[in-house]
């Protein structure tokens, strides 16, 4: 079997009491899109209630992000059959290799991100469980606030090293 190799295979986790920066590996990202409303009902039959932007849905060990009208990203475990189950019913595209998942955690995490992401990260505006499609150093990302002090960034794989450098640099004063 070929072994998966992440875009950040050469990097090491950064950790201090104030901030931790690392990668989440071993997940499946499946994009499912419906061409019309009736298909959405079919998808609901498989996934259950669909979350509405900007809230991330969590069910059966999967996270569901409403990324565009009639379009969702399902982040599941490394071996996930959800794509196969939705095949034929909706438009399914495997994107597991297209995004690199970086976490930023700790009390200084919002301060690190404020240097590199333009959106308002105040808890009253962007609280735990919310996500945003935004940008980091000129490249698009999906930012998910998992808890008050943990964020996960889904960066484009080909820009992942760039995103990592940019984040690591922003975290420097807290390390």
């Amino acid at each position: 079997m070929l072994e998966r190799r992440s875009a950040l295979a050469g990097t090491k986790e950064i950790a201090s009491s104030r901030v931790r920066l690392g990668e989440v590996r071993g997940f499946t990202l499946t994009q499912v899109a419906a061409l019309d409303d009736p298909v959405l009902s079919d998808i609901r039959a498989v996934l259950g209630d669909l979350p509405q932007h900007p809230f991330c849905g969590e069910k059966d060990g999967r996270r569901i992000f409403h990324t565009a009208p009639h379009q969702f990203w399902i982040v599941g475990p490394e071996a996930d059959d959800i794509g196969r189950r939705l095949e034929g019913m909706a438009i399914v595209t495997g994107l597991s290799h297209s995004r690199t998942r970086i976490f930023v955690e700790g009390p200084a995490a919002p301060d690190v991100l404020a240097k590199v992401i333009e959106i308002d990260l105040h808890e009253a505006v962007f609280g735990p469980g919310m996500f945003a499609m935004t940008g980091l150093h000129h490249t698009p990302i999906l930012l998910h606030r998992v808890t008050a002090s943990r964020f996960e960034i889904y960066a484009m794989r080909t820009f992942a090293a760039n995103a990592w450098d940019w984040l690591a640099d922003a975290a420097l004063e807290f390390v």
Binding site: M1, S98, H137, H138, D169, A170
Partner: protein
């Protein structure tokens, strides 16, 4: 006898913390809480610079950001920073400061001879004098002029400090923490709104810091604010610019904290703050009085003398003259008298305001002349009392100009208020509010009330209702602010400066007027008024008054100049932030990048991508390596990373119909498992991109684009689906990051493939040209396409990105007996030139299908994007520049991309008949070949032409040939 000295107590300084610093190498000491300016003044250093043009001795004028004279060069080596007003520099241990624009010293400056020639240096002098006698004279003189006049010199060394950018958001931004700003922040804070209070000074309080009687009020308000977790207070944080949508850019300075770049500590932070509502409480700046020699050291703004007295506990010698045209200088006179200074208050108005005991007051009198060069010694009055007084300091107040710069950044013109003889904000956007001196409200009590109200209103505008605008204020009524501005004296003895920093006098304005530069904008550019680093903060209104006097008009009719960001000087580093070096823009890496780096690749930037230029196995330089890599592909087998190609998943019941409309050639009937080369036009009928698209199933296609146009094609497809053809049931997703791609090319590529995937039938029958196989290999989904960019037998292997390095290594390992090696971009691009394939250099959004020799691909029966517009007369003209091949006829010489093409008989002049797009050495033909565009294209086959590259003085002969240099019949790729 000292002119200034420090009092033993009082002020906002910490006498327990002594701070040493140097000026021009000489050591001095001050206290924590001092600015460089106040520390120098406390040391009785009053001559601190030479003026820009005339090299006149200059001293401190102000105590704030408006300072025109006291500019220093700070630091040394790579940290040298010129032109910094000493009035805003926190005094820190070891601070190194140098005076500017004087040699050998400010006390004895050789260039002061300019003063003797001063009558020459009036406005327009340089333009009039140095434009002749010959063309280009200005270019000759300019460096000398710049050396003689000017400010400090910047260093050329790389700035070792760190600068950062921060994004912040708030409900209410309060700019300025004076009386009005503090009140506004408190009342807005009470509503629960997120408040950001920005103060440029090191301390909160603004003008209150010079009002000892207000200290307890200030402390109480600060305590109130500190108790509010929703209020963030930032000092040394200047609002530089206001932009659309309430975006305010602030710069926060942290020099005082000794930031260590190696620990990631920034020296300055540029904050992009988005506020729902803004309260401008930016205060006002005092104006000087205009009289002869009004620039002598020791002549200071009354507000500055007051600040130095009360905030920094610095008393001027024994005698002071306070000259004013308004009421605000009166408290200073009283405080000086209380401090034991003999004070003469000179008021140009016929009636004076009430004065404190111990202050002598003379009404209806103005300063006529002053005596003393290096420092003022005497003042002679005109008017009712033509007396002469000795003095150590002359404090002047010409009235106050509201600091409305920010309020006008978005285009709202200031409005002239005759009652205060100054401009006030001309209006506000719905979410903007003003309070205090910036509104022309000069009384403290009124400013506090106004601030509290503005805070409530701003919170309301941000969606936070509050009725609690109650504010502890001060007892009694504010003194009235009465001002009478006398017409400026435009002639007389001594230079009467309007703009100290740019050395512009009242007489210069008169000359500008005489010569027709009467509009404010012309006046500014002709005289350089207001064009210094202080941007005319103290000179603007006085200059307008002078011009309005000359034109016999009111100030509002003369106009005001436009204020633009930044409000004060900003370090270049703060603008760049961390976007420096390799982070100037993002870098995009192929999933195979780590392998390339570990295996001898030399990289080249291609757009955002870092691509392999060539590999070390083939040579040390690109010139030798790419030829070897080309030979590898033409004679054996090579492996190249093509992951940068754009890849798009096109799915849905109407996917085939969609592609059939997008591409000029047919895709509706493409069988499943087959690939097809397609070209798409933009809606102007010009070629947008090309690539290969494969039908994966009845309803799914795998579309590839060129590397360069990947993003544009994706946007284009989304645009078409979302706006033009909403009825089509199709969904597109970019797979560029999901899938890696590698090209396996060369006559031995099939053998290599058989070794790599032993169970897969890759025979000519099993996988014919333009065929596609999908299979699973060791857990990875593989898309194996038989197509060729090089013209050789070749394949593309696509697979999910994380598996690309293991598979790449597998192929190189198993095919090693065939001599397989990797090849880079230069070889890849050169192989396609030999084959005559167009690429990014030819697909430049200017060429039509026919220009590129692809006209026959266009379907006649079906509609497609660009079909009608491509038939426009000009796009079909027979003499358009179109694709040709070129062969170099002069061995030993070279062809160059961009060379202009001329017919052999043409005069080498102008734009020629075409140009070269791509050049390579052909390993096949053993000569230099090129692709280019030439008038009339292939009608000229066989013609000898001239390739001109005038920049290098190169003129080379070449012959026009078919662009298909290699295997024109395609026998190899079909083998």
């Amino acid at each position: 006898m000292t002119r200034f000295h420090r009092r033993p107590e009082g002020g906002h300084i910490d006498r327990a913390r002594q701070v040493s610093f140097t000026l021009n190498g000489r050591s001095y000491s001050g206290f924590a809480g001092d600015t460089l300016a106040s520390a120098l003044l406390a040391n009785d250093v009053t001559l601190i610079g030479r003026s820009f043009k005339y090299h006149r001795p200059r001293g401190l004028v102000s105590a704030g950001v408006e300072e025109p004279n006291a500019l220093f060069t700070l630091g040394s080596g790579a940290r040298t920073e010129p032109n910094i007003p000493g009035t805003i520099v926190d005094l820190v241990d070891g601070l190194e400061a140098r005076t500017q624009n004087a040699w050998p010293s400010v006390g004895f400056d050789l260039m002061a001879v300019n003063q003797l020639a001063a009558p020459l240096f009036q406005s327009g002098f340089y333009y009039k004098t140095f434009m002749g006698p010959a063309k280009g004279s200005w270019m000759f003189y300019e460096p000398f002029i710049r050396r003689a006049a000017g400010l400090g010199a910047a260093t050329r060394a790389f700035d070792p400090d760190r600068y950062e950018t921060r994004h912040q958001h708030c409900d209410v931004l309060v700019v300025g923490a004076g009386a009005a700003g503090l009140a506004a922040a408190i009342s807005a804070g009470r509503s629960g709104a997120r408040v950001f209070l920005a103060e440029q000074d090191a301390l909160l309080g603004g003008g209150l810091l010079a009002e000892p009687a207000m200290e307890s009020w200030r402390q109480a308000r600060l305590a109130e604010l500190q108790a509010m977790p929703n209020v963030q207070m930032a000092t040394r944080c200047t609002a530089m610019g206001l932009y659309d949508d309430n975006l305010v850019v602030l710069v926060e300075r942290r020099d005082h904290a000794r930031p260590d770049a190696s620990k990631g500590q920034p020296r300055q932070v540029s904050i992009s703050l988005r506020a729902k509502a803004i309260v401008f409480a930016t205060g006002a700046i005092e104006r000087p009085l205009v009289f002869g020699d009004n620039d002598r050291p020791g002549i200071m703004l009354a507000s500055a003398v007051r600040t130095y007295l009360n905030r920094f506990a610095i008393v001027p010698g024994r005698r002071a003259v306070v000259a004013t045209n308004n009421d605000t200088a009166y408290p200073l006179a009283a405080e000086l008298a209380a401090a034991g200074v003999a004070v003469m208050l000179v008021d140009s108005r016929p009636t004076t305001a009430a004065v404190a005991p111990g202050v002598n007051v003379l009404a209806d009198s103005s300063v006529a002349t002053v005596a003393g060069r290096g420092h003022i010694q005497q003042v002679t009055l005109s008017g009712a009392h033509r007396a002469t007084f000795d003095c150590d300091v002359l404090a002047v107040s010409g009235g106050w100009s509201p600091t409305l710069h920010l309020t006008s950044h978005t285009g709202i013109k200031p409005r002239y208020d005759a009652a205060i003889a100054a401009f006030v904000p001309g209006g506000f956007a719905k979410t903007h509010f003003g309070a205090g001196a910036v509104m022309g409200t000069f009384g403290l009590r009124a400013a506090i009330i106004e601030g509290a109200k503005a805070g409530v209103e701003a919170a309301g505008a941000a969606g936070f209702a509050t009725s609690d605008g109650a504010m502890t204020t001060i007892q009694g009524n504010d003194p009235t602010y009465a001002i009478t501005v006398a017409p400026p004296v435009l002639s007389g003895k001594g230079k009467a400066f309007l703009d100290f920093q740019s050395d512009v006098t009242a007489k210069d304005v008169k000359i500008a007027h005489q010569e027709g530069y009467q509009s404010v904008e012309h006046l500014k550019r002709y005289t350089t008024l207001g064009m210094g680093t202080d941007q005319g903060k103290t000179s603007n209104v006085n200059a307008l008054a002078a011009m309005s006097e000359l034109r016999g008009m009111q100030i509002p009719a003369v106009g005001t100049t436009t204020f633009r960001p930044p409000y004060t000087g900003v370090a270049m580093g703060a603008i760049a932030g961390r976007g420096i070096g390799k982070h100037f823009r993002p870098t995009r890496l192929s999933p195979l990048h780590d392998w390339h780096r570990a295996n001898g690749a030399t990289f080249i930037e291609a757009g955002p991508w870092l691509r392999v230029y060539y590999y070390a196995w083939a040579g040390d330089t690109v010139a030798t390596a790419y030829v070897k890599e080309m030979e590898l592909v033409r004679r054996g087998v090579g492996l190249s990373d093509v992951s940068t190609l754009g890849k798009i998943d096109v799915q849905g019941p109407d996917a085939a119909e969609f592609l059939n409309r997008v591409y000029v050639n047919g895709f509706a009937k493409l069988p499943v498992g087959k690939a097809r080369y397609g070209v798409m036009l933009n809606d102007d009928g010009v070629v947008l991109d090309d690539g290969t698209t494969t039908r994966i199933s009845e309803t799914q296609f795998y579309l590839t684009t060129t590397t360069a146009q990947a993003g544009e094609v994706m946007s284009w497809l989304e645009f078409l689906l979302q706006t033009q053809w909403r009825d089509l049931r199709v969904h597109v997703t970019s797979l560029t990051d999901e899938w890696a791609g590698m090209a396996l090319a060369g006559p031995k590529s099939r053998e290599a493939l058989q070794l790599a995937f032993p169970g897969v039938d890759v025979s000519n029958h099993g996988l014919p040209y333009m065929g596609c196989l999908e299979f699973d290999y060791e857990g990875a989904q593989i898309r194996l396409l038989r197509l060729s960019f090089s013209g050789e037998l070749a394949y593309e292997i696509h697979l999910p990105a994380d598996y690309s390095i293991p598979l790449w290594e597998h192929i190189l390992r198993v095919a090693a007996p065939l001599g397989i090696k990797p090849y880079g971009l230069e070889a890849l691009a050169s192989l396609r030139i030999e084959k005559g394939h167009v690429a990014g250099l030819e697909l430049d959004h200017r060429n039509t299908l026919d220009d590129l020799g692809l006209g026959k691909m266009a379907a006649k029966e079906k509609p497609f994007v660009g079909k009608e517009l491509r038939m426009r007369e000009n796009l079909q003209a027979p003499d358009r520049w179109s694709l040709v091949g070129l062969e170099l006829l002069e061995p030993g010489k070279s062809l160059r991309g961009g060379a202009i093409l001329f017919a052999a008989t043409d005069e080498i002049k102008g734009h020629g008949r075409g140009y070269i797009t791509s050049v390579t050495w052909s390993v096949e033909l053993q000569k230099t070949i090129a692709l280019g565009l030439y008038q009339g294209g292939l009608k000229n086959v066989g013609a000898e032409i001239i390739c001109a590259f005038p920049l290098k003085d190169e003129f080379v002969r070449a012959r026009i040939v078919s662009p298909h240099f290699v295997d024109p019949k395609g026998e190899r790729l079909n083998a």
